[in-house]
Structures are given as structure tokens and as C-alpha cells.
Symmetry: C2
Subunit: 448 residues, 2 copies
């Protein structure tokens, strides 16, 4: 496809490859619905208006047409799916671009893991846009399967599909001016740098932002979100499997702020993806909570595109990538057709594309030193013990001190009071390192 041909299609001189007639377009540029035809040539939108000539015509009969949804921040590994299976799950949901920070697979397999996903991504009918993992391992308290230094971050950033530096979880490192952390930030100069700063406020937050970090997906309260918006951060409103912030943050979305807010799922497991959906589920929930549907779609398309500097996405305009979804019921966001680069790739929730073969690479990475028996014991010596308290729907937790049930001199799960044992087993190097603690809030009554 040449630009000259695209221009000719836009002028109506030569036939479009695909013409979507009688669409009610969700115009994300100006937040309106408008009636028109959309002419597509190759992977691009050529023109919007009255078009006639095309190799293929689909009459939408007044059905809604919106840009493909953009999941603004996620770790696809959290789906627990192979990337091809992940595409199978989310493409019929309208997700046609996903910004993913591969720090989970990198944490286990390093470069090899990143390469595995970036190579595979080319074969999938959605655009994976990658952020270079900034924090592998996530903290120095962790044993990881790989480490990514500032030098390696620099190398990763040179890859054309890497569009920025992934969430800078090491906010204490930024705020304290840690050299290695600042090197990573320096290497990302001129690119997007995502933040991750739960609870950071005041001067510490200013310090974090002064390094050029411009977004956050960790706000859990209105006050936190408001302060971050005030200081110039983009607010990613997260609805993951175990981190649900929409209800707390939606009141922040106003005429004055909405352009700096967008939706992300961060971590969403396959069960939620299949049952509820991906970013489409977030849009639905936002509409259900009272957000105007067109605005909700803007927050799942063009707003994310603008933040990530993806200039030919998120809108239905001439020259834009023809990633499109048709919607039968706007308020319920009921999807029908999904077009990736101008090709129909899903319909009525069913994928219409062939998956690349699911290969058996990068398996057997779990290495544990047996036996673990004795290491799981907590000797009962104190009166009270620290218990991790789960906050429902959030990933932040609370710390409580509780009296515990003791059997034979050892702390024992107390199902009645929902105080259970939590075990973290080092699984990269079979070092035998084990962390044992207590947790409240899972509500499990018996083991597997």
C-alpha cells in the first residue's frame, strides 16, 4: 500500500478495500456520535464521509463504530495465558492494542522471556506495545530469575517496539536519588516513563515526578488521584482482578480532567478475561457507574494513545490505523465485529483468526529445593503475630497483630477466624529460601 493510493481512495478515485457504510461513528476527537461511511485501504482508514467504491462493503445499518480499545497498562503474564491464547481471549473483547510491561516474564527468564513475547507478538492480530521493565527484580528484597541493569534497559529501549520505560516501582530509589535507578531514567530520555507510586504524596511525590515520570496506576483514593493529577500525572484508572480502583477514582473524571485519565487492567487473570472481559469490562463498569459512554470510550482509546504518543491510534480519522470495533448496544458496550488493520478478526465474541502454534518454550522454570516440611513451621513464641490483612478488591494490604492458634508449640491455621498460613517459596534457583506468614481475608476453608 502506498500513500499515493491511500490518498486516491480518500478522494474516492479508486476503490477502498473495505467500506463500512452507514456507521454511527464514536468520534473520539470531539466526543460526539456522527453518521458516516468509513473507507479503509490496506491497514489504514482512508476517509470518512460518503463513499461508494469498494472491493467489499459492509452495511452497518446505523450500528456504532468505535476505534479499537487500548489497554493502557498491563502485564499480559498475569492472564496466566500464552500470548497467543491471550490474544484469543482479548481480541474478541475489542482490545486491539495493549501496552504491556513484561516484567513478570523478565523476572523469571530475563531477555529470553522478553524476546519470546516480542517475537510472537508479530503474529497476533493485536498490537503489543512494550515498555522496558524498569524493576527486575521488583525490589532488592526479592530473589529473581534474572536482573535487568540500567545498561540492559538502554539496550532494550533501542528496540523499535519498546515505547518507553515500564512502571518505575522502585520509587524509594528515585526519591533517594539511587544512581542505578537514575541511569535507567536517563536512558529513557525522550520516551514515556510510567510511574508506580502507591501512597506517595507531597514532597516525595514531587521528587518522584521531577525525574520525568508522568503517570500512575496505583491511586486507590480520590485524594491520592487528585494530587497526582494536579502535579501533572496521567491517571490510569485500574480495574484488575485483585485491584479495583474505578469506584474510588471515577469522581475525578470531569470535563477538566478526563483527557488525562484512561483505563488499564494491570493484572487480569484468564478467568476474569473470559467471564467479564478486558478493557471492555472496565468501560462497561464505568458506563454503569454513570460515565457518558462516548467519554468512557475516549478513556479506553484516544486518551491512552495520546499519553503513549501513539499518534495514529485511538481515533477514526484519515491516516489512522484501521483498528475498529462495531457496537450493537452502546450503553452496554455489546460488541459485534472487530477489525484489526482493516481485517475482520472476531465477531460476536468469537475469534476468527488462526493462532500461531503454542510452543513449549520457556517451561520448567520452577525450581524448588525439597523437602520443605520443617521450613513451613512457625514456632509459637510470642503472644501475638503480625497478620497480613487483605483489603477486598485492592492490592494494598494492612498489618494487624493477632493472637494465634497454637498446636504442639507451632502457629497453626485458624479457619474459624480466617487466619491462614501464607508461604512464599523461592522458585528460581532452588535456594530453599522460604517465607512464612499469616494472612486474613482469603476466607479459604480447606486446602487443595
Amino acid at each position: 500500500m502506498s500513500l499515493k493510493e491511500l490518498i486516491s481512495v480518500a478522494r474516492g478515485e479508486i476503490p477502498a478495500d473495505l467500506l463500512l457504510k452507514n456507521a454511527r461513528i464514536v468520534n473520539t476527537f470531539i466526543g460526539e456520535i456522527e453518521q458516516a461511511d468509513v473507507a479503509i485501504y490496506g491497514d489504514r482508514i482512508a476517509g470518512i464521509g460518503d463513499y461508494v467504491k469498494a472491493k467489499e462493503i459492509i452495511d452497518l445499518q446505523g450500528g456504532f463504530l468505535a476505534p479499537g480499545l487500548i489497554n493502557g497498562h498491563t502485564h499480559i503474564e498475569s492472564s496466566m495465558l500464552h500470548p497467543a491464547r491471550y490474544a484469543q481471549a482479548v481480541v474478541p473483547r475489542g482490545t486491539l492494542a495493549v501496552v504491556t510491561d513484561l516484567h513478570e516474564i523478565a523476572n523469571v527468564c530475563g531477555f529470553e522471556g522478553i524476546k519470546f513475547v516480542t517475537d510472537l507478538a508479530r503474529k497476533l492480530p493485536l498490537d503489543m506495545l512494550f515498555m522496558a521493565p524498569s524493576c527486575v527484580p521488583a525490589t532488592h528484597l526479592e530473589t529473581s530469575g534474572a536482573q535487568i541493569s540500567s545498561k540492559e534497559v538502554k539496550k532494550i529501549l533501542a528496540h523499535p517496539k519498546i515505547i518507553g520505560l515500564g512502571e518505575m516501582m522502585n520509587f524509594p530509589g528515585v526519591v533517594s536519588g539511587d544512581e542505578e535507578v537514575l541511569q535507567k531514567i536517563g536512558a529513557s530520555k525522550g520516551k514515556v516513563i510510567d510511574g508506580h507510586a502507591p501512597g506517595l504524596a507531597g514532597k516525595e511525590l514531587n521528587a518522584y515526578l521531577s525525574a520525568g515520570i508522568r503517570s500512575d496506576h496505583e491511586s486507590t483514593t480520590l485524594e491520592e488521584g487528585k494530587e497526582k493529577l494536579r502535579l501533572g500525572m496521567y491517571l490510569m484508572i485500574r480495574e484488575g482482578s485483585s485491584e479495583k480502583n474505578l469506584d474510588a477514582l471515577l469522581p475525578l473524571v470531569t470535563d477538566n480532567t478526563y483527557k488525562r485519565c484512561f483505563f488499564v487492567v494491570d493484572d487480569r487473570n484468564c478467568s476474569d478475561l473470559l467471564r467479564e472481559g478486558d478493557i471492555d469490562a472496565v468501560v462497561r463498569k464505568a458506563i454503569d457507574r454513570g460515565l457518558e459512554p462516548v467519554r468512557a470510550i475516549q478513556m479506553a482509546t484516544i486518551n491512552a494513545a495520546e499519553y503513549y504518543r501513539l499518534y495514529d491510534r485511538g481515533g477514526i480519522g484519515p491516516g489512522y490505523i484501521a483498528n475498529l470495533i462495531t457496537i450493537t448496544d452502546l450503553a452496554k458496550l455489546e460488541l459485534d465485529m472487530v477489525f484489526y488493520q482493516g481485517k475482520l478478526v472476531a465477531r460476536e465474541g468469537k475469534p476468527l483468526f488462526t493462532l500461531p502454534p503454542v510452543t513449549l518454550e520457556l517451561r520448567d522454570t520452577v525450581r524448588i529445593k525439597p523437602p520443605m516440611g520443617k521450613s513451613l513451621r512457625i514456632a509459637a513464641v510470642d503472644k501475638t503475630y503480625p497478620v497480613i490483612e487483605i483489603v477486598p478488591g485492592q492490592i494494598i494490604t494492612k498489618k494487624a497483630m493477632e493472637k494465634v492458634k497454637v498446636v504442639d508449640g507451632a502457629v497453626t491455621p485458624d479457619v474459624e477466624r480466617d487466619i491462614l498460613k501464607l508461604v512464599v517459596v523461592e522458585r528460581h534457583r532452588a535456594s530453599g529460601n522460604i517465607g512464612v506468614g499469616l494472612v486474613k481475608g482469603f476466607g479459604l476453608k480447606k486446602g487443595a
Copy 2:
């Protein structure tokens, strides 16, 4: 200045270079006014909040503080001033960044002209951001002092201060798929491409945009502006010396659209700059016409910054460039202090900086072939003659056919009916080419 130091200032650990206390900040991120101190270190804003330590403290006593104004599109040559004098005129007006397409000086002096301005710009207390001239000469109907081919455009674009391709005036060339024009656009891939498409609509406009052009400053009617916004263009609202579009376009600025609208002056002569102002005058006029002052300032700061991908400008946030203005009366946009990169450079309309010497380069470029006497004659042979009709406050003109005054067999100026002679003299190559016509609307009663 190191990032580590900036972070330390933001944390309040080491003193700021400059502390602006008790500011009422025009927060362009969220469109609100908020009370806080602003700590500056080197050329950057370190933090916003309660700060104490600083080498220098200025107590604004509740005065307004806004980001430096950005003139989103201009040709500084239209000021008829040397670039240093231009800075002297606009910096006290709060213009601290100007996106300028040097096609006027390039039209006369080519590369040498561009180099002259870009070299000089480094010495001035405002940031000149340059667009590579896309159309030198403006049309093939014109004789110019230089030509800039697509190969040369490519070279110019490689310069770090060149942020995009200047207004693509040759819209017929784009729409017809002219190879050389498409080469220029191809060379700009990944950069901003400004448009210039007066009156272009429908399929032709779609064709123009499909090439990746994303802005326009030529809309003169509401319908034209609306169509351009709908199709994904950024709307530059222009108030030049002889092109005033604010009144026609302001109704387009709504909660849904304002982020895609910003102010430009295009061509503003020195007399208007000194008497009325630069982009500040546009903000004042917009407020006078009913636009909310904070929004008007957003349209003269962050909106332009976002369109031009100037990620550390247009807002008062940690890590942003400390280009700031203080405002004594917000509704009247009465300016007091102007800070460029954290340094006071103007106060109460007076520049406080030393101008670089105004050198005598690039002079004597006007080359005319004398004598011109006979060439200025219009032989009276027809009953009526075409007359260019000026549209007040606009650069578009109308064509009328008028009976003319004849003396000695020649068409003569008719002061009574305001039909005057207009002469265009080729002045680059002394070719002797002269165009003679008639114009209505200047209202001149006698010559110089």
C-alpha cells in the same frame, strides 16, 4: 544541574535556586487555580507545595503564576524585526516558546536564512522551535530567492531544534499525490506535520489528512473548523495582523473540543506586537469574548505543547522547564514578571535581558530591475477588470469585476471608489517580472 540535585530540591533537602512563595497557580493540567509555592532549581521546576529553603525568595502574595505562553504557529519574519528585536518585543508579553516556520526568510535566503535564525535563537531568552519549511517557494507560480527540495527538507529535519514539517501549503500537491510533496511528507515520518488548507473540505480534506497532516490554522468559518476538528485535526485559532479568526471559531471551543484547540498568530507585525501584544493579546481577546481565563491560558500553553509533543512545557509541574509568568489581573491578563528557565527576564512590560548585537548579515537581498515605468501600465482595452476585494480582518480575498477609471488609454487608480493599483515586483533575481492588478478595500487616499 543534575537530576539528583533536582530531586533533592523537590524533597526540600537542599535549597531551591528560586522560590516563588504564595502563588495562585494556574494549573493547566486540570484547569484550576491552586495556592502553593513553586521551587525552582536551575532551569527546571523542582516542586509545588510548601517550600522554605531557597537562595532567592519572591513572595507573590497571592498573585497568579502561569506557564510561559506558547505561540503555536508563526513566521517571526512577519514581525519585520530582527530575531533579537522580536524577542525584545514578545518576551515581556509572556511568550517564552514560539513554534516558527522560517519559510519567509528561507524563501529569500534559503539555508543561510534558516541557519542565521537558528544560530541566533540560542542567545535569546525564549525558545524558538522550528518547523522545516515544506513549501519554498510557496507555490510554483512564484519566483523565489531559494528552493527547498524534499532532499533538503530531510536534511533540515535532522537538526535537533527542528521539531516537524512546517505548514504544507501545497495542499493541491498532497491531494493530487505529487511525488516531491509526498517525499517531503515521507521524510517527516514520526514528526509533527502542520497543515494549511484554507477551504478544503469533504473528500479532498480527507485525502490531505490521510497523509498524516494533523493541524490547520486557516479555518475562517465555524463549519470549516468543525469539519477539521471532526476529522482529527488540531484547530489553531489564528489572530494575526491581517487574519483574525477568533470570533468565528471561538464557539467551537467546548468541554469536548478545547484540548484540540490552541492559539497562534501566524503573521503579526511589529506595530501590533508592540501595541496589542503577541499571543497574550489573543488570550485577552478570548477572555473578553467570554472564554474562561484558565481555559484561555490552557489554549496558549499546554494545548500547544501537547500538539507539538513538547512534554516538559505548558504546565507548572515537577520536572517542567521553569518558563513562568506572573499575572496581576487574570481576567485582563495583566503580566508582571516573566521567568525564562528560572531567570527573571522581563518585568512590567520591560525586557531585562541584554540583546545579542544586531548584525548586518543577510541584507541587500532586494534586487530589482529598473526602470519599471512602462511595466506598471494597464492598457484599457476591456469594459470591466478583475479587482481583488479585501475581506476585512482576513487573508482570504474575493474577486470582483468592476468598471474602471481610464486616463489616456490606461487604467488609473480610482480613489473615490477605492479601486487602487497593486504591483508585485520580482525582487530576488532582478528579472524584471512585474504583476499589476487592482485592489479594493485598502482605503488609501494618497501615495507615499
